[in-house]
């Protein structure tokens, strides 16, 4: 594609203001000038509540490293919503995400995705990746925390004879456990993977308050490079164990599931952070964000000041706002909001 760039530019002069991507986009939806896309090539049901979605990404997608995650955008009722998902496939295959039905976006992905659908993508990122040099690994996962680790295992186990991985995976029940069949098959076939399953619905939680249980199943855990991924409680328990046992959290690579949404409160007001201007202002719940910014001496884009011209659109980085015309509280990270008709509903970060 790079070599064709000058040709593409010449062609776009003939079809201004369109770019060639827009023409190609008529025939293959992965083409777009502004938005990375992927077309769904396969949907595999993993458990009743989860599915793996494989997609063919468009130009601009870089091959991910095992363990990374990407933001995926889907349309719900015509509106685009974004969430982050770990990539479960090994690099080199069509990328895939394995999604568990929690929340509206995940639910749509799990239950309504069909082959041929278009997904919107942001490049894969994250530091939860395999060490540069081969060494014995310990992986501890809970729930869908297995997803990024699965990508690592698929990358490592079948291809590296010297691989030495202990995987301790917790799930509520066997049916809820993602990739259980594949993991069992891999560990049966390859001695490099030792699988320890822990079903909390039928037995005890894996006890990390003392090193005892870990010592029992994996005596050399202190010398292994450790990876932990799961819900907040699980990850912080592991962190505490490593710190207490003197091994230090340094040998531990962790990935947390985090929820970015912090629900707004109507009429609350809050601290408004103007990120680019590096200013913070306390706002009431009635003044428009435009006024708040202007009073703080920030050069705010604006036009009609009554919500009709859309020239005050500003990226919301965090928090939620209240539309002063309707009272509706709304906002997702990245959404462009009209500052002239929006008030802070709790703390708000703006990209200005």
């Amino acid at each position: 594609m790079k070599r064709l760039r000058p040709l593409a530019q010449a062609a776009s002069i003939a079809i201004h203001p369109l770019g060639v991507e827009e023409l190609f986009g008529l025939f293959d939806p992965v083409f777009s000038r502004r938005q990375l896309r992927g077309v769904v090539t396969e949907v595999v049901r993993e458990t009743p509540q989860s599915a793996t979605i494989y997609f063919r990404p468009g130009y601009g997608w870089r091959t991910h490293k095992a363990g990374q995650w990407a933001r995926i955008g889907v349309e719900i009722n015509g509106v685009r919503h974004w969430r982050s998902y770990s990539i479960s496939s090994a690099p080199g295959q069509h990328p895939s995400v394995t999604v568990t039905d929690i929340g509206e976006v995940s639910s749509t992905l799990v239950h309504n995705t069909r082959v041929g659908d278009v997904l919107f993508l942001a490049p894969a990122q994250g530091e939860f990746t395999l060490p540069e040099e081969a060494r014995p690994l310990l992986m501890m996962t809970a729930g869908s925390g297995i997803t990024p680790v699965m990508s690592m295992i698929r990358t490592l186990i079948p291809h590296q004879k010297t691989a030495d991985v202990v995987l301790i995976h917790s799930a509520r029940t066997e049916e809820d456990s993602l990739f259980v069949d594949e993991l069992r098959a891999l560990s049966a076939k390859f001695p490099g993977l030792r699988l320890i399953e822990n079903f909390t619905g039928v037995g005890e939680r894996f006890d990390m308050s003392t090193p005892a249980q870990l010592d029992a199943v994996c005596p050399d855990w202190r010398t292994r490079a450790a990876y932990v991924c799961g819900p907040e409680g699980f990850v912080s328990d592991a962190e505490a164990l490593w710190t207490r046992s003197g091994t230090g959290a340094a040998g531990l690579t962790i990935e947390r599931f985090h929820t970015e949404l912090n629900a707004g409160e109507p009429g609350a007001g809050g601290l408004v952070t103007f990120e680019l201007s590096d200013k913070e202002v306390e706002a009431d719940g009635e003044s428009t964000l435009l006024e708040i910014g202007e009073d703080a001496g920030i050069l705010m884009p604006s036009g009609c000041r009554m919500g009709i011209c859309h020239s005050c659109l500003t990226p919301l980085r965090a928090g939620q706002v209240r539309d002063l015309r309707t009272g509706e509280v709304h906002g997702e990270p990245g959404e462009l909001i009209q500052t002239c008709v929006s008030a802070a509903a709790g703390s708000v970060n703006l990209g200005l």
């Binding site: 002069i13 003939a14 079809i15 203001p17 938005q35 015509g78 859309h310």
Partner: protein, 397 residues
């Protein structure tokens, strides 16, 4: 990485407000913002003088309900609609341009290709460009169909037009001295505008404006008058000028250099040139006619400063209704006007999806009747004739 990251990499520089008309009073009043729900203008327009403040507030509520009803139902079907229109427009553009280049010498092909290209331009400017640039599709959060990213197939740059149109014209609809769309600084379109001898050329100006409409709009959007009297800062003016050179230059390159140039290969360069020229002419005449039907036919009213001073939301709605006029006709006509045939509904709710205007028009008309307000509508020939009548009549004192 944000969903609209591409929109955020290059934030539009804040535009300096060159049109602060409010007198220097309290700080809040210098920045007139969200209109109040209560109150009334110093003088209510004659056509609405019979209404009490309470009745206006009631009317406001009824119109708000129409809007919130659409907002509630807006969704997948609307998104599909705009994407379908965009695809249609792109196919027409490629087919028209491609056919002119490949087989422009064949008369039947030339006619069909020119018609396809003219339609592509009309649909792009009206049902897509005008409406996307109003933010009617921003709710989809699709950076490909967004008021901050859309580049349209028109000589005037999208950003300049958004300023004079979305902000100034829609906020100050038909307020003399504030809304310069009344005559576009060129024509005398209201008896209250002072007559000068140059107005004798009204019909001549308009006859020249019509075939070159996109260039007239581009020059108008530069706001040369404001630059000359010092209200528009030089940097802003120069930026606008550069943007105009770029977008206008691209139009000329594409239609009059590259397309005929490619047709050299088939020997149809002359026909290709004539085809693109004809498509532009058709688009300009059509756009000019539709735009002139929006606010100029008989029965549309203009307003004075007293009629907006203290105006609350209800009176703002009333001003939009009194100042706009519709074109009646088929679904095809509405589509080809970008639903600007529903100018009244568009001015009430400039950021609702255009495809919904037809559905709410009967409700708006019914409200007008109930409150004793005129609802200006008529067939295309009548509205065009009426606007041109004004052009001729107001040439004289």
């Amino acid at each position: 990485m944000n969903p609209l990251a591409t929109l955020q990499k290059k934030p539009t520089p804040p535009r300096i407000d060159t049109t602060s008309h409010a007198p220097q009073r309290d700080k809040r009043e210098v920045r007139p913002g969200l209109l109040a729900d209560k109150g009334s203008p110093a003088v209510r327009p004659p056509a609405a003088a019979h209404l009490s403040d309470e009745q206006v507030a009631e009317l406001c509520k009824e119109l708000d309900t129409i809007k919130s009803d659409i907002l509630k139902r807006r969704g997948t079907e609307d998104a599909k609609y705009i994407r379908r229109v965009i695809r249609l427009q792109r196919y027409l553009e490629i087919l028209g341009r491609g056919a002119l280049i490949l087989d422009g010498k064949n008369k039947a092909v030339w006619v069909a290709a020119t018609a396809a290209l003219a339609s592509a331009k009309i649909i792009e400017n009206m049902e897509i460009g005008h409406n996307v640039l109003h933010g009617q599709w921003d709710w989809m959060r699709d950076p490909d169909i967004h008021s901050t990213t859309w580049q349209w197939d028109f000589a005037t740059p999208a950003r300049s037009w958004q300023h004079t149109h979305n902000d100034l014209h829609h906020r100050w609809t038909n307020v003399l001295g504030k809304d310069k769309d009344v005559g576009f600084n060129l024509l005398r379109m209201d008896p209250a505008q002072e007559w000068t001898p140059v107005n004798l050329l009204n019909p001549v100006f308009n006859m020249v404006l019509a075939p070159f409409f996109e260039w007239g709009i581009a020059i108008y959007d530069l706001e040369i008058d404001l630059y000359l009297d010092g209200t528009k800062p030089k940097e802003v003016f120069m930026d606008d000028l550069k943007a105009f050179a770029k977008s206008g230059g691209s139009q000329i390159m594409k239609d009059f250099v590259v397309t005929p140039g490619l047709a050299l290969a088939t020997g149809a360069h002359k026909e290709a040139f004539l085809g693109t020229a004809a498509a532009n002419l058709i688009r300009n005449l059509w756009a000019h006619s539709v735009i002139f039907c929006g606010h100029f036919p008989d029965g549309t009213e203009t307003f004075t400063d007293e009629m907006v001073d203290g105006e609350a939301r209800g009176d703002w709605y009333i001003r939009q209704m009194l100042g706009s006029s519709n074109i009646s006709g088929s679904k095809f006509l509405h589509f080809m006007t970008g639903n600007l045939s529903h100018q009244v509904e568009h001015h009430l709710f400039p950021d609702l999806p255009s495809s919904r205007y037809g559905e709410i028009a009967p409700k708006v008309q019914e409200i007008c009747e109930r409150y004793g307000l005129p609802y200006n509508t008529g067939p295309l020939y009548k509205q065009v004739g009426s606007a041109w009548g004004k052009v001729f009549r107001l040439a004289l004192p």
